[in-house]
Symmetry: C2
Subunit: 390 residues, 2 copies
């Protein structure tokens, strides 16, 4: 049984080294942290229905403001009762600000003090995302956790650009908070630390944002093309700067290895398209490491994909059948693979949390990492809004 | 509660005019006829899992021998425990002979006394389907109802060709029966009446086939490009020629209207890709007729797709959400639309059966047809094996 916390209430239950286990209250239930949030860009976790989600048991999923604003439109979603009702999902929802997607529209957007103007990837129409606008959109969507508009500085940006940008991010963050006063705890609001790959600028960004009463803090601007070592360096530097008594969210990261390393460094929340996107490419996470269902060795293999897994896919089907579905491009392949990968991620987080609570996290982490070699996190969720999906 | 019949046992419970309600025993349960069989070409009813099927409740589905023979291969399926185990489906399965698909491979196949040679649409490799071979494949698949190899005469074939062809179909039918003696009732074997659009040739084909001890009789060679009136003419002529005490199966047909007309003319079994293929095109069957979820009028409509429907899709989601999923090409759209259309077809058959048992079928049929205008059945399932599917 989970204690029921009020929205915005964060309870740090224990630490194991710098790894944390906690609880975060939202208007749609209390989250057990560390937590992984499956990505539901356009009002559905790709290939899954809410019945599948109910069986998998995440307590929170992520929606993308950029996509939902353009289609079906946040005002329309509001008139239809909000995003939860629209998609038939009664758990918590975190929405990003849309900034990350907009900044990935190279050449189609312009940044000004007021906000960022961009062209829709769907029809080329022009739009402005200001801090006030992205708060308004997220209020219309009714998300439980809203994110401020920030500038995600591209990898390789110089010190001067990064320093100037983080000031803008702070001014935008303040405007977001003013547009949604801290008194309103039905929808939480998180700030986002920027500062690129300059430790002192990360510290400056964190310091400025912590002056604003946010319900939590995200670390943005990672997983943008840097090496894994660079990412972990910045993360190890930045996480301890953040308040102990607020949740910390590492945006758009990552692999199982990234998650465990992030947890070790004190991160509480994660999201990434990796388990869902990989599922659609046939790449599956298992207790014996990453594999691909296309491999010829599975063609006649009657065993479940992962004999140690308890998901619907592994309880019901053979590797041979999953491979057949994938090779035949059957729609069911995407659903069954996604069910498995999301189950893997959620279970990994449940196990990590139990390990923290039992003060054996490092041993657990080493055990899992033996199966997962170093690999890059893909650049963040829906970075290419126009990329084809099966 | 359904009485449990032995495989091959057919019990005609009642007739209402020429419409029939009955029971047919198979090795995987007893079917209530008239029955519609959802099409699961490649070992999955497209977009659905066996969990979805269990919720929808068909007692029988159809698999395509041509596709399963080529991929993953019938011998492989046999080594994996048969098609039921392979796809996680415990209800009955009917498999076609593969002939229909092969004959639709224009230019790639050659018909001889021995059988039909053809080239795979996947890799161009050469294969022979003989009567013995298609029985062997279907035995490997372990289907509950197997179909004989027949020549599906193209629409427009002249009398001479058709007369010669039906003789070949009879010789092939006899060879199929010999390859799978009637004593073996674990897997039933149905003959297929051909004879094109010549009533006397249909009679001749039926007469010849009825000399062979089949467990049921299909009417093939319809829905191949003819008008609806032509199809009904031939059906009205052919169905009464078949034994009263055996099930009658109209292959590859059709629309809700076709099903009700077929039932009225004494048909017991149907299959068609229409509900599943239409679902993937956004075309949905409802109590108020056919509609398309793409229509702009649904963009902000909070009502269920069909307020009279009890399927998961209609119980859970709004028209607005279904339209959004479809417009955004989300994979969930295909599953939810397919669930609805299959539910519609199965429910239509359940209602038709109840109406026959209560001797009010004609009133029921008129009531439904008021919502469904005349339209052509698409040419049969998987007629174009290489056609793209979403």
């Amino acid at each position: 049984m989970t204690t029921h916390l009020q929205p915005g209430e964060f309870s740090l239950l224990t630490q194991c080294g710098t790894a944390r286990a906690g609880l975060l209250g939202t208007a749609h239930g209390t989250l057990e942290t560390p937590v992984f949030m499956p990505v539901g860009t356009q009002g559905t976790v790709k290939a899954l229905g809410p019945d599948d989600l109910a069986a998998l048991g995440p307590r929170i999923i992520l929606g993308n403001t950029y996509h939902l604003y353009l289609r079906p439109g946040d005002e329309r979603v509001a008139r239809l009762g909000g995003l939860h009702q629209f998609m038939g999902w009664n758990g918590a929802i975190l929405t990003d600000s849309g900034g990350f997607q907009v900044f990935s529209l190279q050449g189609l957007r312009r940044i000004e003090e007021e906000g960022v103007t961009f062209q829709s990837h769907i029809d080329g129409s022009r739009h402005l995302f200001s801090p006030e606008k992205v708060v308004s959109i997220q209020r219309n969507l009714g998300s439980d956790i809203m994110m401020v508009l920030d500038e995600c500085v591209p990898y390789g940006a110089d010190r001067e650009y990064t320093a100037k940008s983080l000031q803008l991010t702070t001014r935008w963050a303040r405007r977001c908070r003013e547009a949604h006063p801290a008194l309103d705890r039905g929808q939480l609001l998180f700030g986002i630390v920027q500062g690129g790959f300059f430790p002192d600028l990360r510290a400056e960004s964190a310091r400025q944002l912590m002056e604003i009463p946010f319900d939590g803090f995200a670390i943005g601007g990672l997983s943008v093309g840097e090496s894994r070592a660079e990412m972990l360096d910045i993360l190890a530097h930045t996480a301890p700067l953040l308040p102990q008594d607020k949740p910390r969210y590492l945006m758009g990261v990552g692999t199982p290895r990234d998650l465990l390393d992030g947890i070790a460094l004190g991160v509480d929340m994660f999201d990434c398209v990796l388990p869902t996107r990989n599922a659609r490419n046939g790449t599956l996470f298992t207790s014996f490491g990453k594999t691909n269902i296309k491999l010829a060795k599975y063609a006649e293999d009657p065993a479940p994909l992962d004999p140690a897994c308890t998901c619907y896919t592994c309880r019901t089907f053979s590797r041979a059948y999953l491979r057949h579905l994938y090779m035949a491009r059957e729609l069911l392949a995407y659903r069954l693979n996604t069910i498995h990968n999301i189950h893997y991620y959620l279970d990994l987080m449940r196990q990590a949390r139990a390990a923290i609570l039992e003060h054996r996290f490092e041993a657990f982490r080493r055990d899992i990492l033996a199966h997962y070699e170093d690999e890059a996190t893909p650049s963040g969720d829906a970075a290419c809004p126009s990329s084809p999906t099966p």
